[in-house]
Subunit: 356 residues, 2 copies
């Protein structure tokens, strides 16, 4: 009896950051945007027609795709849309990583990559970052079945230059290279690998509405690449679920993309607060890689990260702590509002004074 258990795919799932449901918390643990989405989003909600929800959504998300294609200067056949960038990345693993050769990604990176590889039984090889958390381009010259890395990287916040990305692409014409740009909008202009798409048919650039567009709650991500890559992704997606994007997601997502001014202003505000937070953290003795994202990956030479994490939580400030080799001396602190960061600074100063 119970032999059905023998055929169950047993997984050790990814563990997301805590999502406390109670209020009164300063939530700097899951890289959400402290500012609301574009005003057009509230308007899209006001205009949402409950009666129309009885109908299936447009399976191609045409309006959202068109808005993205216009915004990013690519063809509509170069955009793939999914339920957050996790869905887009997971579908990309399933679609493109079918070689018997291992795929490559850094040892310190988004913790979902090895989970997806396990889920789809894709062989993989981790390539350690340098001591200062940099990607070493030569590590990606070896024979492989595909490459994926975030840029800026998570949880380090470091952004590699386009020359490194192009070098990796030039050395890997026979596999798909995925650049996971969840945080690119906080890196300043001219950093996205999207400019390389016309030159490299095997480049997939993945972005999300969850961070810079303040829409983590709506689950919208997208990929840009050559029409050939996007067509393959769509075929797999359509073999999985014809209608992944709800009418609400399509309407809200489109409203967000159409307000470029708000988007730029919000990203600029987060960047300004981040630069101030770097000064404040340095003042308290923290060391950290120079973040290009909406978080700072910081370590204190005298107070263990785990203690800081727990003490902050006592004070109702949530940050992220990873109990993993090489990064267990660090906290990943999301950039909040100026007020939230001031409260964080005050709390950290107190804790350090008590502990050190």
């Amino acid at each position: 009896m119970n032999h059905w258990r023998d055929n169950v795919r047993t997984m050790v799932p990814y563990v997301p950051g805590e999502q406390p449901q109670e209020g009164g918390i300063i939530k700097l643990n899951t890289n959400e945007n402290p500012y609301p989405p574009a005003p057009g989003v509230a308007e899209a909600i006001r205009n949402m027609d409950a009666d129309r929800l009885r109908l299936y959504p447009d399976p191609s998300s045409t309006a959202l795709k068109r808005a993205l294609a216009d915004r990013y200067g690519v063809g509509e056949d170069q955009i793939f849309i999914g339920v957050g960038s996790d869905d887009v990345l997971s579908m990309s693993f399933l679609t493109f990583f079918n070689s018997k050769k291992p795929i490559l990604f850094p040892d310190i990176t988004y913790s979902f990559y090895d989970v997806w590889a396990d889920l789809y039984r894709i062989p993989y090889l981790v390539r350690p970052l340098t001591g200062d958390f940099r990607l070493r381009r030569e590590d990606y010259y070896i024979v492989n079945g595909g490459i994926v890395f975030p840029n800026p990287n998570a949880p380090t916040g470091l952004c590699e230059g386009l020359d490194l990305i192009e070098d990796i692409l030039a050395h890997n014409p026979d596999v798909v290279v995925i650049v996971d740009e969840a945080y690119i909008d906080f890196a300043g202009r001219g950093k996205s690998a999207a400019v390389l798409i016309p030159k490299y048919e095997n480049l997939l650039v993945v972005q999300t509405f969850s961070k810079s567009r303040s829409l983590a709650g709506m689950r919208i991500g997208f990929a840009m690449g050559s029409p050939a890559l996007i067509a393959a992704l769509n075929d797999v997606r359509n073999s999985f679920n014809s209608y992944t994007m709800s009418r609400a997601a399509q309407e809200i997502g489109t409203a967000s993309v159409l307000d470029e001014t708000y988007f730029q202003e919000t990203a600029a505000k987060v960047i300004r607060t981040r630069e101030q937070a770097k000064k404040d953290l340095a003042e308290l003795g923290f060391v950290f890689p120079d973040s290009s994202s909406n978080f700072i990956f910081a370590s204190h030479p005298r107070v263990p990260a785990k203690v800081l994490f727990q003490e902050l939580k006592q004070r109702h400030i949530y940050v992220r702590y990873f109990d993993k080799p090489r990064i267990n001396h660090y906290l990943r602190i999301t950039i909040g509002t100026d007020e939230q960061m001031a409260a964080l600074k005050k709390a950290l100063a107190e804790i350090i004074a008590e502990q050190a």
Copy 2:
């Protein structure tokens, strides 16, 4: 060059029914509900807080899960929620069908099953329905890696009794048996296999908000089963995407479940119209299995289904036609409002008069 194409998973995707974006069409082709969702849905939209969309949703969809558990009399640990029942079924294939033995499903059935089996490289064996489109229980006594069938079946609309389902379960304690109940709410009371869950740990019952709850546009489906099955599904889901259900889907879905009266009334209205449509179609000479769903699978002895399909489309009435062996003499006609069905009847009478 271009060897990256060698490792692309090449799929022949499922083709959903047409979703014409223009108005003025009588849309009876994708089994949507002709009535709007519960009034609480419009209220949930009015109450939706755009600012909160910056935050990730509750990854466990606790409120929606609680509402479903209460409604269906199971534990919260017996409910799995996904992006439509396609997402739930696809995740279930990935989670439970990992045997080298073939899974079994009927030859005439929901056309996504073989697509998912191909996607995940699951061996399968189709078991032909009888000449009158019935499931033969003995066909499911052979050694297998899992069983899945819709009840009521699509596109036939026929509902098998609980005795047949329990017999199949009793013969298959060592594999997971999935009963796909997308249309069960149109079958009348006491037909859902959910009552067998306490007795069979290997039974998974899948339902959807797309049909009886008039929420195809929001993409919500769910499964009920033993805590062991649900835990395995959640682990795989969490290995794929931590946050599949948006805040909008959670809030709207919960509002729908909480209005039981509206739900019952709407299902009853569709059933009444269906019974009238059976009389009307019989009057026009159609033959059809006795549908327990929100569609009728009808064939005319003198006018080919393909001609009827095309002629109806000329008259802006969309129905579904499957150009496949054994079912290419049939139209699948979704039950609309009484007015829509009267217009359909009139159009069919004209076409038959012209063609016959």
